[in-house]
Amino acid sequence: MIGMDGIVLAYRNIKERKTRSLLTFLGIAVGIAAIISLIAVGYGMQYAITEELVSFADTISVMPGKLIPGLGYVELGAFTERDIEDVRRISGVKDVTPLMYKMVEVEYRGERMPVQVMGADPCDLEEWYEEYVVFQEGRWIRERDYKGCMIGYNVAHEYFKNDIGLNDRITINESEFVVVGILEKASMVASSDLDPTIFLTTKSAQDVLGTDEVSMMMVKIRDIDRAEEIAEDIEEKIDENHNLEGFTEAMSMSSMMEQIGTVFMIIQVVLVGIASIALVVGCIGIMNTMLMSVMERTHEIGIMKAIGATNRNIMFLFLVEAGMISLIGGILGCILGTIVAKAICTIASAYMGMDMPAIVTPTVAIGSILVAILVGVVSGLYPARKAAMMSPIEAVRYE
């Protein structure tokens, strides 16, 4: 028997049993789609998070305190003007953005709430958050906006009973400010910075908070590869200024990545977990459809035996057919899975406000199709073999 006969016959069988074939394709496709879409979304998630973090790669955040694993951040003091000037002079430092923030009481239409106020140079602020800020209304604060402020989404819409609108007045520590800009809800990474915060210029922040202490510095560097080295220089310099060993914590993004390395590990583990669940679910689906569709053909296998087919002939015919069905089902599943993943990612991206693409790598696509073929063929051959092992008359009489 020549291979071509097997292919022609398999094609005929698939074509003649349209409904059955369609159901089998679908059974396999759904299994593969589950694998593809879950992995694509998982990869997309990982990509999105990495991408957000990489945009901070040339940044060192400097804090007057210690990050103690398991306990969080303990503030030990504040930076001075001199610290900032000194850091600016360290070689490799491109730019320093001093930030001050504090929780203060804010009043709006007679209602008082504690809100985080951040003071910063508007130019720095704009440069810093440019990628993350989307305005609902209004504009960036400017250096001249001594009595102007920009507010995050939560401040505008969640903290107070009444929504705060553009040009409304709010009272911060007894001084009145005009809202010149209201931000949209921020993406996941920037959300904790932007959403709950009122932004002021450094000058008005100093006045309204009654202090010129700097709570934090964001340092941009020229060469990402030197991040660790520069971070050490910064710590050394400021510790020296304050005459206190371990006063400063300067964290480059790479060390930050290490800090959140566990998060990545968890994501990886979850991903592998999801993939294996998808694999199991998919394979059971494929096995089920294939077992059913071959088992119903026991009678036909009996006829084939009765007219002289050897067990090997029969196995070969079913191998080709199961392979063909699994291949088509696998390809359909890839397409279906990609569509589903795209849909999920589009919705998730919109919901989280960040760019989360559905990533279907060739390895995953080809791997899934191979899995479909392997599982399909094995679970198709099993009942075919069982039928072929029966005596011809037993198989012919099989209901």
């Binding site: 028997m1 069988n13 009765a306 007219i307 002289g308 067990n311 002939n313 005596s391 008359i393 012919v396």
Partner: protein, 225 residues
């Protein structure tokens, strides 16, 4: 005259849980080349069982079947498949055509297993359908054919590999009298040309055409014509 089929102490026992049901009890039978044998007997007497053993469609519990001199009990699965495709053409009461294939493809199908080239298979299948007056129905599916037509397709399929023996298990059982007669005329002509025919039947008219009648009763061959 040489022997085509010979059974020696052929026994078949079905096991129904605890109970053993003997269906064939030491059947010794010899059928010559070119003979036309009718097997008769009451329902349940073991006629189909015997025919299935002769056709290598089932394994005996004990005893042997010789086909054209070959002891089939010594053959493995592949050997028995070879006997089935080269020596035997089996016609079932239920036709047992493959319903996804056309009449032509059904007839050509057994030749795939004997390694006949595709064009040759189709040529021979057409020729066979032609002799059975079914050329116009070649492209039809079994479901689009009448019972008589389906059985003629089944005969064509049984003849595809030119087997020396045709076995029919009540081949006219599902046909009207006229179709049954047409079919028997055809088989009789084959027999005239030297084909060995073994037909299980309840129909005395068909039995009357045979050269030899075997009657089965409770798994034992009783009397012969």
């Amino acid at each position: 005259m040489s022997t085509m089929i010979r059974t020696v102490e052929l026994t078949k026992t079905y096991r129904m849980g605890e109970i053993e049901v003997p269906v064939l009890r030491s059947v010794n039978l010899e059928i010559n080349k070119g003979d036309f044998v009718a097997i008769q007997g009451p329902s349940g007497s073991g006629k189909s069982t015997l025919l299935n053993m002769i056709g290598c469609l089932d394994h005996p519990t004990s005893g042997t079947v010789f086909i054209d001199g070959t002891d089939t009990s010594t053959l493995n699965d592949d050997g028995q498949a070879k006997i089935r495709r080269e020596k035997i053409g089996f016609i079932f009461q239920q036709f047992n055509l493959i319903h996804t294939l056309s009449a032509l493809e059904n007839v050509a199908f057994p030749m795939m297993f004997t390694g006949v080239a595709r064009e040759k298979r189709i040529e021979r299948a057409k020729e066979l359908l032609g002799t059975l007056g079914l050329l116009e129905r070649a492209r039809h599916k079994p479901s689009e054919l009448s019972g008589g037509e389906q059985q003629r397709v089944a005969i064509a399929r049984a003849l595809a590999n030119n087997p020396p023996v045709i076995l029919g298990d009540e081949p006219t059982g599902n046909l009207d009298t006229k179709s049954g007669k047409v079919m028997m005329d055809f088989l009789e002509k084959l027999n005239d040309k030297g084909e060995t025919l073994i037909i299980v039947t309840h129909d005395p008219e068909i039995a009357a055409r045979a050269h030899r009648i075997i009657t089965m009763r409770d798994g034992i061959l009783r009397d012969e014509k």
